[in-house]
Symmetry: D2
Subunit: 304 residues, 4 copies
Amino acid sequence: MDYQQLVEEVYREVNELNLRGKVADYIPELAKVSGDRFGMALITLKGEVYGIGDYQEPFSIQSISKVFTLTMVFHVFRSKLWSRVNVEPSGNPFNSIAQLEYEKGIPRNPFLNAGALVITDALTSKFDEPVRCIREFIDELAGQHCVRINEEVMRSELRHAERNTAMAYFLKAYQNFDNDIQEVIRTYVSQCSIEMSCEELAKAFSYLANDGYSLFAKREILNESQSRRVNALMLTCGFYDESGEFAFRVGLPGKSGVGGGVAAVLPGKFSIAVWSPELNEKGNSVKAIKALELLTDKLKVSLF
Amino acid sequence: MDYQQLVEEVYREVNELNLRGKVADYIPELAKVSGDRFGMALITLKGEVYGIGDYQEPFSIQSISKVFTLTMVFHVFRSKLWSRVNVEPSGNPFNSIAQLEYEKGIPRNPFLNAGALVITDALTSKFDEPVRCIREFIDELAGQHCVRINEEVMRSELRHAERNTAMAYFLKAYQNFDNDIQEVIRTYVSQCSIEMSCEELAKAFSYLANDGYSLFAKREILNESQSRRVNALMLTCGFYDESGEFAFRVGLPGKSGVGGGVAAVLPGKFSIAVWSPELNEKGNSVKAIKALELLTDKLKVSLF
Amino acid sequence: MDYQQLVEEVYREVNELNLRGKVADYIPELAKVSGDRFGMALITLKGEVYGIGDYQEPFSIQSISKVFTLTMVFHVFRSKLWSRVNVEPSGNPFNSIAQLEYEKGIPRNPFLNAGALVITDALTSKFDEPVRCIREFIDELAGQHCVRINEEVMRSELRHAERNTAMAYFLKAYQNFDNDIQEVIRTYVSQCSIEMSCEELAKAFSYLANDGYSLFAKREILNESQSRRVNALMLTCGFYDESGEFAFRVGLPGKSGVGGGVAAVLPGKFSIAVWSPELNEKGNSVKAIKALELLTDKLKVSLF
Amino acid sequence: MDYQQLVEEVYREVNELNLRGKVADYIPELAKVSGDRFGMALITLKGEVYGIGDYQEPFSIQSISKVFTLTMVFHVFRSKLWSRVNVEPSGNPFNSIAQLEYEKGIPRNPFLNAGALVITDALTSKFDEPVRCIREFIDELAGQHCVRINEEVMRSELRHAERNTAMAYFLKAYQNFDNDIQEVIRTYVSQCSIEMSCEELAKAFSYLANDGYSLFAKREILNESQSRRVNALMLTCGFYDESGEFAFRVGLPGKSGVGGGVAAVLPGKFSIAVWSPELNEKGNSVKAIKALELLTDKLKVSLF
């Protein structure tokens, strides 16, 4: 398989389709990014990098960071964590609070905002300097210093954090939140404001294509069973309330962010990251999703 | 891999765990089945059969039939069908009507009762004698005459069909139902009252482990892409509101029924059916799910 | 108080406001009525009639009929009925099925469609010819033969009864429905298709202004306590999910219908009916509600 | 009417019924109050006081304070306020956040916690020292210095304010909250921690029985129309999701609190306050509600 030719073909075909969406605008800093940006990087389990377009351009990873924080806590807390957050698809928007009320403060899964806040709370209990630890962990996964926190994005998100703060107070009302709320929100907002390129992100996701062993960190990040479970979670819950559609059309475990990035893996083969800022109504990048659909069609691969 | 030894080991270990649940009792006929029944059949892509326990005993397949009717319509209707039923996990119980109201008569997925009714309605539009066609189709998939409709179960389900009938009228109110409601309900109840053994069911599911080609029917049932999409749907929606948990713990596409059966596939390797009537709170067989979890652990296989 | 001058003043002022809404169009027969029709009749406890505009023109009373059927069953069943239907405002649209699911088949109140179906079911258990009984009862209340069932409206409603039929099957699934569903639906649709004029309707509502004693029937229809309870129900639940707004702005117990009619009472003083077919978004007549607001402002009366 | 004899009769009969409920225990300070306390005070529009039992014993007024804060802002803000909070019954528990999400940050009515927070926020915008103003206003209404804030209750409520704080952040996310959240929560918690006796409370409610004019303050607190609207709101929304039941059985506008108090009015006749700490499942005092039901039965009065 000539992966370089493949990503180039996909890149060209997606561009020809001229798909449009809407750049996230809930904070001004994200709205500034040009909707035309588009890049893709595929990394094999031998570490070979195949890239095209803006694949070395950093972008705001946003919710993709939830995979990293889950991994950090998965390792440490094991089964105890799963009494605090469930593993079911939500059927609701990522920032909905209604379901959290019906289910008495146990978030449906760790990729909803409420679930990710529980994860970041657990991480805050474990690590003294959680933001530094997150940065170092992702750097290690990618095998290079690459994590940058965009301070402007972070400050802007902090100014618009009312909904997530409400979520955290609500979790606390159900005794599912241990630490100071403002501190956890700051950590959460920091992790969402991380910028990475497609290449760096695909490297950092590589362990999930490799039963938990990272080529770049040169160590086992998760054991085989844990790694597969993170993938299962990404497949059923990784794309907000479009997860079923993504599984149906693409069939790879992955995670999207409102910055327009998507990171995904084909276990045993490769990890891949795609970025293009224009989003569909569900908050997923239109070009990134189309690119992954074309790529799996051409490769005739899928989990299934 | 010695599959016979494997299924025997799993069978013994599950029995030792002495897991208990509750036999479905919404109709008296299902409640009569002994909770101790337990069988399992695994069938490779070469057609080899490995069975243990009550694997040749027929049981009520119930919702597992939804995979067959979906396959029958998938083939015929292609994309048009997907305007009538969505492909997202529901986050709600399988017989909930509330979500159907919020989403204006478009069921979340074809494995919810509402979605399966839409499928059976579509099938009724296509085939003159839908019940006969369903039977013949499943017989063909299994490569043998095996489908029996339990008339007692069927009559009893018909007498308790108010909720599904409400669902059908509700779909009709949203113009998402074309045929006579009583006729479709009769077909639907018939398909749920089919009895098959684990061996027969595993054979009939074999095409989904084989990119759509059935060893037993000796023809392509679905093309590769269609077959993978049915698997994706089973993985995200096949176990009611426990689908995420099943993906997380087992990691195989599958479908359960309240008769206590589960059919699943490992693409490229095998299909498998397990039966034990005692159910957990979500309506899935406690022993069948445990058996599949142990089996995938021992095999160290999973989609992910 | 010169009531004739009052209704004329209100009539003129409402007309000058030139309020517009939308005639109900879920069945073609209702959509045919001219949006300009507007009439009002006020009837004192001495039986004096004050009318203006189209106050002698029959119109489709629709949901206003629910007050009459509730009265018929209130009398007969007493407290037993209240285990089958609650007396709380719903907070949801009148034809919503979701709440019925959450509350396990007990409708929130007898003026929601689901609740009214339970009432009509109870009435069907009691009376051999329910439709005839309803007609005779209302004729008696109004002291004259006046009830006409519009057959065209009725047949059209029957052809669009899927949603109410779904509701009835759903109630039956929860054992809260005793009779043949099609028969009850026919009775329900018949009562909704009754046509009466403002004058006739105001006469028929007179007992609710008079602690249960009807001037026109010349007998006690409900005892004092029952009559007050029907009024309490109308105040809290009589205007769909605009009941609070109506209590807030008008302050009279009343009931509206999608035919554009509103019947209301000021206990101890008068009953009143207003009709104008154009509805607001909540399904209540824009002119009728405005008329009642102006009238209570001018009279400086209200319950409160 | 010999009101003294009446309240004594009601008091005795309720005590004989030996009704039991559960003292509020979400904060330890409320749980300490003896469940046997029971008092009642009725005050006519001439200012005559009829009391029985613990009617001069101060208790925690809790949500009854929402009527006073609404009155303070009603006067000042007029119609503008009604774009920030609706006037419809909720159909949901008083502290539910789900409906607030579905209705995009506009609380259903000012007596839900979310609605009361909007009112206290509006009040904070208007008055420099909101807590002092609330105390002075209620003292004025009662015609005497009587308002005491129980500091222990207040501090305890502050320590358990996560759910209300979540609500406030959620309102802010929808731009329906103007002031510092912690400050408003402190004011809100202070108003809920006010202690008054039945006698003081009945005096303070007197203006609502008197078209807005307070005998004790000797001035018009609200105009006639405003006063009636507060009463309409109390009737439709004053008893959490038991408001319909209270209107049905008692038929007076009133407001309850989880401290076990109920204040109510019969417009044109009297105001009344009843207190007994044991609550039913909906959070309303079992004895207070029974007492008001008996009292209106005996008086043969009701709004309706």
